[in-house]
């Protein structure tokens, strides 16, 4: 088979510290099966510390994104009604700074993509330990191996569901929100334990430097007793991982940063030019994709405003006749992409609430689209969102009429809210009613 199977009894430390005689079966359980001279505590520690920082940022930005959907505000907003204590930290998502979600979710998604090669390298660097012999040395080690399944299974599960979701490749077994959110918590416990047990060792290994552990006293189980001739240094290998992260960053980050950089996002789902004109910016779901028909948004379209026991019904022209205000706000999607600030023009939500006598102390509002079904065809916006001067029912953007795909005849635009909360093709606003 491979060189690895040749006996390497000439000098060097022999296999395993096991008490006499229990030589592992041939194959990956033997330390000399693994030939790469790169594996060792230093490489694993450096990769581990990078992941530690990255995963913490991803976890925090992930929880922020969960909070941004305001799941506690209404059953309608809540994709995970069984969350129990896992939503303990939830808070009212703010409207300032208006770019907050654009930043946090751009970081969450882009960082996740950039960390892929670091994660792969980390897993590669510790693979011999998966086959360590004997498989179970003590009860403590047995428990740790189960935790490692949660750790490794969890981290790959999170990366895979996230990366597939942003490409609209919905092949995972259930709702993305449910899987990604609960999966993160399953992973989190195993991650904290892993860090608690290994951080000290990792810091010591980094301090010792890349050549620090060649000593025969190495007990990490990572250093091969039969190194193949080196083809790259440990720093070189790290450089290769870094180049991988850089390559992914370059072809991705433009979809979140926008401006001229968007053209560099060659492989990102929302890196392409959507065309010229006032409506030439990224679309989450087109009108056709969600089944909007001509009749839904034609001359018979009406806007119904309800609240406080009153109701007002407006035609498109009557809506246009209301006082209009402007706000420069981006669309920022949970998938990590976002648009630059677009100049929206429309009627303030507080002014619409005024039609039913709720201009002062405007309450939360249920927003409904003509869209039939779908998880975000309607949403409840918090009172603070409805009261913000920049929160509009927009009818124009960048000086032109809204296109069908951007929500003609009227759409919500709220500062700081996740993209899907900016409901398109709005037909009814219900202020203060329980949703």
């Amino acid at each position: 088979m491979r060189e690895a199977d040749k006996p390497v009894d000439s000098g060097g430390p022999t296999a395993g510290p096991g008490p006499g005689g229990d030589r592992p079966p041939p194959g990956p359980a033997r330390p000399e099966f693994w030939r790469s001279p790169l594996r060792g505590p230093w490489l694993t520690a450096v990769l581990g510390l990078v992941l530690l920082g990255g995963v913490v940022v991803m976890f925090v930005t992930g929880l922020l994104s969960y909070a941004a959907y305001d799941p506690d505000l209404a059953r309608l907003n809540d994709q995970t009604p069984d969350k129990g204590l896992l939503g303990f930290y939830l808070f009212d998502w703010p409207t300032s700074p208006y770019w907050l979600y654009r930043l946090t979710q751009g970081v969450h998604v882009t960082l996740g993509i950039v960390l892929v090669p670091v994660l792969l390298a980390k897993l590669w660097s510790v693979i011999p330990k998966l086959f360590a012999w004997p498989p179970v040395r003590s009860a403590g080690q047995a428990l740790e191996r189960v935790s490692l399944l949660l750790l490794v299974g969890g981290v790959i599960f999170e990366f895979v569901t996230g990366i597939l979701n942003i490409q609209l490749y919905y092949v995972f077994p259930g709702s993305f929100y449910t899987l990604h959110f609960y999966g993160a918590w399953v992973f989190a416990g195993a991650f904290v334990v892993h860090v608690a047990f290994r951080l000290g060792r990792a810091l010591r290994a980094v301090r010792a430097g890349p050549a620090g552990e060649y000593a025969a006293s190495d007990d990490s189980g990572l250093v091969t007793p039969a190194p193949a001739p080196p083809t790259v240094s440990r720093r070189g290998a790290l450089g290769m991982v870094g180049a991988g992260s850089a390559a992914l960053l370059v072809v991705t980050v433009g979809q979140s940063v926008g401006g001229p950089l968007r053209t560099t996002a060659l492989l990102a789902p929302h890196g392409q030019d959507p065309g010229p004109g006032e409506n030439g910016f990224q679309i989450n779901k087109t009108a056709a994709a969600v089944g909007i028909r001509d009749a839904d948004i034609g001359p018979h379209w009406r806007l119904t405003v309800r609240g406080g026991g009153r109701q007002a019904v407006l035609t498109y022209d009557e809506l246009l006749a209301l006082p209009r205000h402007r706000a420069a706000l981006p669309i920022a999607c949970v998938e990590g992409w976002s648009t630059d600030d677009q100049l929206w023009s429309g009627v303030r939500l507080t002014d619409l609430a005024g039609l039913v006598g709720l201009r002062e102390r405007t309450p939360h509002v249920l927003v409904e689209s003509v869209q039939r079904g779908g998880p975000f065809s309607s949403v409840v916006l918090a009172a603070a969102q409805a009261r913000d001067d920049r929160s509009l029912l927009a009818v124009r953007v960048n000086g032109g009429v809204l296109s069908r795909d951007h929500g003609y005849p009227a759409r919500i635009i709220v500062p700081g809210a996740p993209g899907v909360h900016n409901t398109k093709w709005v037909t009814r606003l219900s202020f203060g009613e329980p949703a």
């Binding site: 896992l86 428990l143 790959i156 492989l267 087109t286």
Partner: protein
Amino acid sequence: MNAFRRRYGASVLHLLLTLCSWALAGYAGVRLLNGDTLGVVIWFVGAAVLHDLVLLPVYGVLDRALQGVTRRRGGRRAGGGTAVNYVRVPVFLSGLLLLVWFPLVLRLVGHYTAATGLPADRFWEHWLLITAALFALSALCYAVRSWHRRPAVTGPPDSTTDARRKGQR
């Protein structure tokens, strides 16, 4: 305390933290599995198994095969051991981009254009062009290195090539 460590193999703290994390995993796990239970288990465990027992061995064997080829070709001459990196790095980068973006590159997302209004056929072209650029860049680097390392016509060759070779490591 020592008796516990002898029997258990680690400290009491280890046991307590592990059990705490399992309890949390159980609390979240029940919710994760509520629905397509088998599907989620397959995805969760399968993710680790597929990586550890398929993806990693496959790229490990490919890398070793690549090393075999370049070592035989290059021998000890011209840093035969490190020549492999001129192939390894662009293959790694191109493969990594494909691994992350394969649903779009391989056009597996049938509703992409319907949803976003953007053409779906560009990703494949972009990936191929990036791959071509990576190999071209690597070829250029290799050519420059080979040109620098060509046997010197004048002067003593040993000292300079030795110094360069050290610089590689």
